[in-house]
Every structure is written in structure tokens, then in C-alpha cells.
């Protein structure tokens, strides 16, 4: 089957139970999930929620546990520009449900929790609509429920999801213990992203060899990318891993303005200068070569008409405000970074502020309970590389004409209060 895979049937939306069956066929009955465990190991599917961790390794860990596992399907999609999980949940919910069912069997889980952002009312509606067509999941051997998780950038972090279920607090916890050992109700817990789970639905049907017919030898399969910014047709695209960004941009109708840089990997991502972007190979190995990661799959084309300094000032302030406030280095480091960008954008900052930023990035990496500060450090470090002239220009001469233009790196408005 060529592209699209996950996004097949998108034209008859939303796909009901019968339509879904017509497009994909039925899920094979593999009640103890053993065949699927082997198939997932061979498929080498990596998580699509941003971490890129191999699913088979987490699966093995939860299967080792003595108590039955819990499966959390992570649909929080806290990344502001990402809409791929929402697309799957609202338009192809049966694919997600099939994948969850198959993965629950493989994990030995009787309990599936779909975790959605509390603001995603349409996602919640559509998922419940689809679950109503699956009476076997409403209190059968495997039961599925939908949980509304408080909105926020870090709410979808996996220890935070577990804590939300256990204590009603949506903030990360320290590791150890890993959630695969002790998670919801102290049971082994597998947290998997909505897209990851959708891939499982297809691997369960067609197998690992089929999965590897697209993608690279090292990184088989396809991935969903949310393309944003100054392109003709922004939106969600399914690509074979290893596709060049230039080819994806052509599919999307190309840039509609002159592009300064591409942000690859969302707000925990990496800035890549426009002249190098077309040749970027979209997979972990290809992006590693330029110090980037695909992360949650967001790629934004920043036009030269935007001010990168104003954009970075806005987004770092928002990211700092999204810290759960529990770890000193995250609170202080991200706060200092946001203050520095604001002082640069306003003008009158000392040139040494760039050295301060470099140091705070180094001091932020690996020093929080979760990887939120690491993501900010990644974003800021690459911005310092790419935008140093703009930054020094603003530091010395103050705001430019483009500073007041509408944001490209949008953030949820409620967080900008105060």
C-alpha cells in the first residue's frame, strides 16, 4: 500500500465503523497479542509523540510487570502548532481505537485511557461517537475511557499524565520510578501517542515487512508532519520517513513568501536556515546530521517578513510560563531566558546577553524532572546560531518594523495574560 496509509479514507469524513472497515479491513483476532509483540519488534516503530523512543522496548518493560498494565493513548497534543493527533482523533477515530485495542492486547492491558486536552471538545465528541460503535470496549474484557486533561504544554508529558490519573495533578513527577514499572494505580503503564497507536493498527493488519516498504532501512514507515507558516497549503501531511523537506514543500504548493528559516520539531525544535532546508532528510538520522529532530513533526516556514527576535521573545516567555514550576533550574533558567529575549527585543541589552543565553541553555539541559527545559534549550541554542545578527541589532537599536506583525509562532492566547 503506498501513501497515504494512516490518512486513507480521509475524503469520507468522518469515517464511521463501516467505512473504516471498508478502507482497512478488520483487525485480526490475536487475543493474547503475542504475534503483535513480535511484529512490533520487527517493525521498529518509534514513538511519534516527540521522544522517538522505540515502542517495542517500552512494550517489553510493561509486559514484564507482574500486574496487568494500563495503556494511555496520549492525545493531549500540547505542541501549539501540531494538529496531527487531533486530525486522527476527529476524522479517523476508528483507526486510533483499533490501534489502542491491538496495543492493549500486546501490552496485557485491560484498561485503555484516551487522554485528551480538556479544550479539545471536538476530539472528545468524535472519539466518544466512535466508541459508541464499539460496545465491546464499553465494559468488555478490555474497557476504554476518555479523560480530559488540563490544557498545557507539559500536561501531555507521560509522568504528568500518570499523576493526573492518580492524584488529579497534571504535572510531571521524578523518575524513577518509570511509568512502565509503576504508573496508573501503581500498575505498569504504557503511554503511547495517538499517531503511534494508529500505526500499530496497520502493523497489526499488514505486518512489519509491509510497514518497511516505505521509509528508510533504519527507520521504516511513515510519519505525520504538520506543516505551518508561509506555505501555500499548510496542514497535515503523511510522508515516508527519509523524504526530503524540499519534496514535502513542493507537495504543499511551496513557499508563498521568501523564507528566512524553518523551525523543525516544534517549540522544542531546531532552526534551520532556509538555503539548507530543501535538502533536509526527514528522519532521525537525516536530521541528526544538522543537529535537529523531527520531534512531534511540526515544521514551520518563517518568512523574512517576520521578526525572529519578536517571535523568540514571545515563544520563550510562553514556554517559561508553561513550566510546572517544580524544578529550580527549569523555573529560574527558563525565566532568565525569557527575560533576556524580552530585554533584547526592547533594545538596550548588553551584547554579553548572548553569552548569558548560551550559559542558561547549558544549565537547563538535563536538569529538570522532565525534558521541557531541554526542549527550550534546543530551540534557543539554534536561534542563537541563526539569528545572532538580528539579536544584536535589536539589543542595540531596539524594535524593528517587523516586531509588531502578527505572530508566526503562535501560542495559546490565555497564557499571554499579565
Amino acid at each position: 500500500m503506498s501513501l497515504p496509509r494512516l490518512l486513507r479514507g480521509l475524503e469520507d469524513v468522518p469515517l464511521d465503523r463501516d467505512g473504516h472497515g471498508r478502507v482497512h479491513g478488520e483487525l485480526p483476532a490475536d487475543t493474547d497479542g503475542r504475534a503483535l509483540v513480535a511484529e512490533l519488534r520487527r517493525a521498529r516503530l518509534r514513538g511519534r509523540g516527540g521522544g522517538g523512543f522505540p515502542l517495542a522496548i517500552k512494550l517489553k518493560a510493561v509486559r514484564r510487570g507482574r500486574r496487568p498494565a494500563v495503556l494511555v493513548v496520549n492525545g493531549c497534543e500540547g505542541e501549539p502548532l501540531s494538529i496531527k493527533d487531533h486530525l486522527l482523533l476527529t476524522r479517523l477515530p476508528h483507526l486510533v481505537i483499533d490501534g489502542a485495542l491491538a496495543l492493549a492486547r500486546a501490552a496485557g492491558a485491560a484498561d485503555i485511557r484516551f487522554a485528551l486536552d480538556e479544550g479539545d471538545l471536538v476530539g472528545d465528541d468524535m472519539l466518544n461517537w466512535a466508541l459508541d460503535a464499539r460496545p465491546e470496549l464499553r465494559g468488555g474484557r478490555i474497557a476504554a475511557t476518555v479523560a480530559a486533561v488540563p490544557s498545557g504544554y507539559v500536561s501531555g508529558q507521560e509522568t504528568g499524565l500518570v499523576r493526573w490519573h492518580n492524584e488529579g495533578v497534571a504535572a510531571p513527577t521524578s523518575v524513577p520510578p518509570r511509568v512502565t514499572e509503576r504508573g496508573i494505580g501503581r500498575r505498569p503503564t504504557l503511554v503511547s501517542n495517538v499517531e503511534t497507536v494508529a500505526h500499530v493498527a496497520l502493523i497489526a493488519r499488514h505486518g512489519a515487512e509491509w510497514f518497511a516498504q516505505l521509509g528508510t532501512a533504519e527507520e521504516p514507515g511513515t510519519a505525520l508532519v504538520t506543516l505551518a507558516g508561509a506555505v501555500a497549503r499548510p496542514g497535515v501531511y503523511e510522508i515516508a520517513l527519509g523524504t526530503r523537506l524540499g519534496a514535502l514543500l513542493d507537495t504543499a504548493g511551496g513557499a508563498v513568501q521568501e523564507i528566512d528559516a524553518y523551525l523543525v520539531g516544534g517549540y522544542a525544535g531546531t532552526w534551520v536556515p532556509a538555503p539548507r532546508a530543501g535538502a533536509l532528510v526527514l528522519c532521525e538520522a537525516g536530521l541528526r546530521a544538522v543537529g535537529a529532530r523531527l520531534g512531534s513533526g511540526v515544521i514551520l516556514a518563517l518568512p523574512t517578513s517576520a521578526c525572529p527576535v519578536a517571535e523568540m521573545a514571545r515563544v520563550t516567555r510562553w514556554l517559561a510560563s508553561e513550566s510546572s514550576g517544580q524544578c529550580g533550574p527549569c523555573v529560574r533558567g527558563l525565566g532568565a531566558i525569557a527575560d533576556a529575549f524580552e530585554s533584547i527585543a526592547a533594545g538596550g541589552a548588553r551584547p554579553s546577553v548572548l553569552d548569558d543565553l548560551t550559559r542558561w541553555c547549558r544549565l537547563s539541559r538535563g536538569r529538570g524532572a522532565c525534558a521541557h527545559p531541554d526542549g527550550v534549550a534546543q530551540l534557543v541554542t539554534s536561534a542563537l546560531d541563526l539569528f545572532s545578527v538580528d539579536l544584536l541589532d535589536h539589543a542595540r537599536h531596539g524594535p524593528c518594523d517587523a516586531c509588531e506583525r502578527p505572530p508566526q509562532l503562535t501560542v495559546p492566547a490565555f497564557a499571554l495574560r499579565g
Binding site: G51, G52, A61, T173, G266, A268, G368, A371, D374
Partner: protein, 77 residues
Amino acid sequence: MRIAVDPIACDAHGLCAELLPEVIVLDEWGYPVIADAKLPARLEGLARRAVSACPTLALRLKADTPAVNGSRRRTGR
């Protein structure tokens, strides 16, 4: 053996850096930065003292080979 800090529990008391300055320095806000290196055997005793001296029980010793079954991410989301 390595020493690790739980950043949620740590309250920046700074005692650890006094007891084990070879391995722990404080950042500009008073939070410990721990050298990413194996503890020399002869520092293990001091490391244990630092662990038990931490007022918030934020420090622990851990084996040198990190477990592989987790899902901690390298950077970002």
C-alpha cells in the same frame, strides 16, 4: 556509581556542594550541577555523606549503567 539529584525535591540548600565539591557545584541560583562522570571509588564515602546530609532527601546514588527500558527523551518533547 554516580550521584543524581531529584530536581523536584531539591530546595537549593547547597549542602551537597560543600560536602562533595569535586562532583557538585552550584549554579547561579544555588541549584546543584552534578558532574556527568563516574564517581572515583575513594569519593564514595563522601558521596554517601552528602546523600544523607541533604535536608530534602533529594540526592541518591545510582548504578553506573543506566537502565534501558525507559522512555526519557533526549531533548524536548
